[in-house]
């Protein structure tokens, strides 16, 4: 399911194959680490879904359930100093990049202890200290921000890279083409990470998208890879190559992860649509059979190298971490209602 980069590009980037060589094998530790992260994201999201249903959250949430392999597979290649920009579906990216579950949960609860002090909420979780420049309420809004961070990284010459997560729907925004162009011309250390989950809100991508998204990136002559987004190892490998290229100064790469969201576009979607339908239950069931977490778990079990207790212990720890985060959020004080005027500007009060 992987399409290679155009010849010319491969030539421009000798590091590529060696990279694949060296990065090919993931250690068991790495795989177990990823397993734990995916479980953490899943657990946090399920808890948020329940909290939303229970009326505990002031705002809405867009859950990432089903796409965990993408965020985790990508961010396993990144350091804290590397940048990512995210989307309205950003909890998974936040956690995969090393963001604190407590602070994220508290943020979504609107608490003073939230990572954004309760000012941002679900669609704006950010942790700049971890290189997470923020979820984004504007579809496509993260692309140019990531390109700007990549420009900074290039000037700085410390080998930092930037990853822009965006969806198949965002790929129809003009900034996608604009950032492909400028990042290619300027040779920016930027990875275009398209999470193609087949839908934008309630619109099937194929009904609003011409051709294959990957061809749009190929037109700029950069390496492009399409991977199974539910296979964390595939995602990790493709990103490893892209990150290596970026660090080596060889410019941007496009990586498309084919994946699927199991939940609605947002929680309480059914009530919102009042019986309206945009996909079939069969489709959801089919994809659930390829749940990225189950896939990895089965693979680990099949390997024979991992003890059952080891997995159980990881699952237990993830569940505990989620409970901890929820407790922390619930216990937090409400946000400071007078804060906004102080935060608008660094140099003066709004």
């Amino acid at each position: 399911m992987t399409t290679g980069a155009p010849k010319s590009t491969t030539e421009r980037t000798p590091t590529r194959n060696s990279a694949i060589e060296r990065n090919f094998a993931l250690t068991d530790e790495q795989l177990l680490e990823m397993y734990g992260k995916m479980l953490l994201i899943r657990g946090m999201e399920e808890r948020l879904g329940a909290d939303r249903a229970a009326g505990n959250l002031p705002g809405g949430v867009h859950l990432y359930i089903g796409q965990e392999a993408v965020a985790v597979g990508v961010c396993a290649n990144l350091e804290d100093q590397d940048w990512i920009t995210s989307t309205h579906r950003g909890h998974g990216h936040f956690l995969a990049k090393g963001g604190d579950p407590n602070a994220m949960m508290a943020e979504i609860w609107g608490k003073k202890t939230g990572i954004c002090r309760g000012m941002g909420g679900s669609m704006h979780v950010a942790d700049v200290s971890k290189g997470m420049l923020g979820a984004n309420g504007i579809v496509g809004g993260g692309l140019a921000i990531a390109a700007g961070a990549a420009f900074g990284a290039k000037l700085e010459k410390k080998g930092r890279v930037a990853v822009a997560f965006f969806g198949d729907g965002a790929a129809n925004q003009g900034v996608f083409m604009e950032t492909l162009n400028i990042s290619t011309v300027w040779g920016l250390p930027l990875i275009f990470l398209c999470e193609n989950n087949l839908y934008g809100e309630f619109t099937p991508s194929r009904t609003v998208t011409a051709g294959n998204l990957v061809d749009r990136a190929k037109a700029f002559g950069i390496p492009c890879t399409v991977v199974d987004g539910n296979d964390v190892e595939e995602v990790w490998k493709a990103t490893a190559v892209a990150v290596e290229r970026a660090r080596a100064g060889a410019g941007p790469t496009y990586v498309e992860a084919k994946t699927y969201r199991f939940r609605g576009h947002m929680e309480a979607e059914r009530e919102l649509l009042a019986g309206g339908k945009y996909r079939e239950q069969e489709e959801i069931d089919e994809w659930r059979k390829r749940d990225p977490i189950d896939l990895l778990k089965r693979r680990l079990e099949a390997s024979g190298r991992i003890k059952v207790q080891t997995l159980k212990e990881i699952e237990r720890r993830a569940a505990y971490r989620v409970a901890q985060a929820a407790a922390f959020a619930e216990a937090g004080e409400p946000a400071d209602p007078d804060l906004s005027a102080d935060l608008m500007f660094a140099d003066h009060k709004a």
């Binding site: 002031p58 609107g110 941002g120 965002a170 925004q173 003009g174 934008g200 619109t203 609003v208 209602p337």
Partner: protein, 330 residues
């Protein structure tokens, strides 16, 4: 007359105008399943030629609205949340608002853009903006802020039948509010404010969602022996300056209540108009009750803190009248 929800009134107006004129077309992101329910059912009735989902590409959608209108169609473009108007702002500010002048009047641009605006639901900064001050300053664009189901129906039908670009701004999250809606062919001419309550002590001009707060405040005030006149401009472009000035000439006092950020708000402009046109009648400083110059915070308490509400209005009114009262805890 029948009691209807705000969103039903909008939906009814769309049905009626699309029935009435085959040149009316509607497009936007997810208008088919209708995330706001306002366009629900249109697809089954009118088919995909006349209503269809678009890709996510606001910059092109606003430009296409111009081209489709120039080529003879009456375009309704649904932009979902008002913040996304910024994403498609170029064709609004540089084309839609200017083309008729630039072409010496060769073009009419019958375009109605629907968008949900305003805060109060913990939707955070990128889904809570109140953009009408920006749109008002552009010139060339009508700006409608229907506060009731009836006004929603009447203004939307007027906009769709008109020959100019109009923004129809629905208050987000208020679609379920009920009101009496005239049946059938009901339109409201632009630039005619509605005086929702007559009064003699103070004029309160309120916009959109703020109208409800102003009416609540007026009730409080009457209990406290103050007679407030409540005016809803209904359209900010064109603006019924005469009704506002006439009212202040009677009451001598003005509070402008606006959900937009204060700086260069509609409230500021209304205050400026009165400070010029009704100056000699003024008995007290003109007060603005607006949102401070901040982005909308997420936390409910922080949002509540900065949003106008009935108590802020009634307290301001009492202070203007020189009567001290304790503000109720809001």
């Amino acid at each position: 007359m029948a009691r209807k929800r705000y969103i039903q009134a909008v939906n009814e107006a769309l049905f009626e105008e699309m029935e009435r004129d085959p040149k009316v077309i509607l497009f936007g992101e997810d208008v088919e399943l209708a995330i706001f329910a306002d366009t629900r059912g249109l697809l089954d009735r009118f088919g995909r030629d006349r209503i269809r989902n678009t890709p996510i590409c606001e910059a092109t959608l606003t430009g296409m609205a111009v081209g489709a209108a120039a080529s003879g169609y009456r375009v309704v473009l649904h932009m979902m949340f008002a913040n996304f108007v910024y994403t498609g702002f170029d064709a609004i500010a540089n084309q839609m608002a200017k083309l008729r002048l630039m072409t010496g009047g060769q073009m009419n641009l019958p375009i109605t853009i629907i968008a949900g605006y305003g805060g109060g639901r913990s939707s955070a900064a990128q889904h809570s903006d109140t953009p009408y001050p920006l749109l008002m300053n552009l010139g060339g664009i009508n700006v409608l802020t229907p506060a009731s189901p009836a006004d929603a129906k009447g203004l939307l039908k007027q906009a769709i039948r008109g020959h100019d670009p109009s923004f129809f701004l629905e208050a987000s999250g208020r679609g379920a509010e009920m009101g009496d809606v005239p049946e059938g062919d009901y339109t409201i001419p632009f630039g005619s404010a509605s005086i929702l309550q007559e009064g003699s002590d103070i004029t309160i001009v309120a916009i959109g969602t703020m109208v409800r707060h102003a009416l609540a405040a007026a009730k409080q005030l009457s209990e406290w022996g103050v007679s407030a006149e409540i005016i809803d401009p209904r359209t900010l472009v064109p603006l019924d300056e005469t009704s506002i000035i006439r009212s202040v000439e009677k009451t001598g006092r003005l509070i402008a209540v606006d959900e937009a950020r204060d700086r260069c708000s509609a409230a500021s402009h209304i205050a400026a108009i009165v400070a010029d046109g009704a100056f000699h009648a003024l008995k007290a400083p003109i007060k603005r009750i607006t949102v401070p110059n901040v982005a909308m915070p997420y936390a409910p308490n922080a949002e509540r803190q900065i949003h106008p509400n009935p108590d802020k209005i009634s307290v301001a009114a009492m202070n203007m009248l020189g009567r001290q009262i304790e503000a109720r805890p809001s």
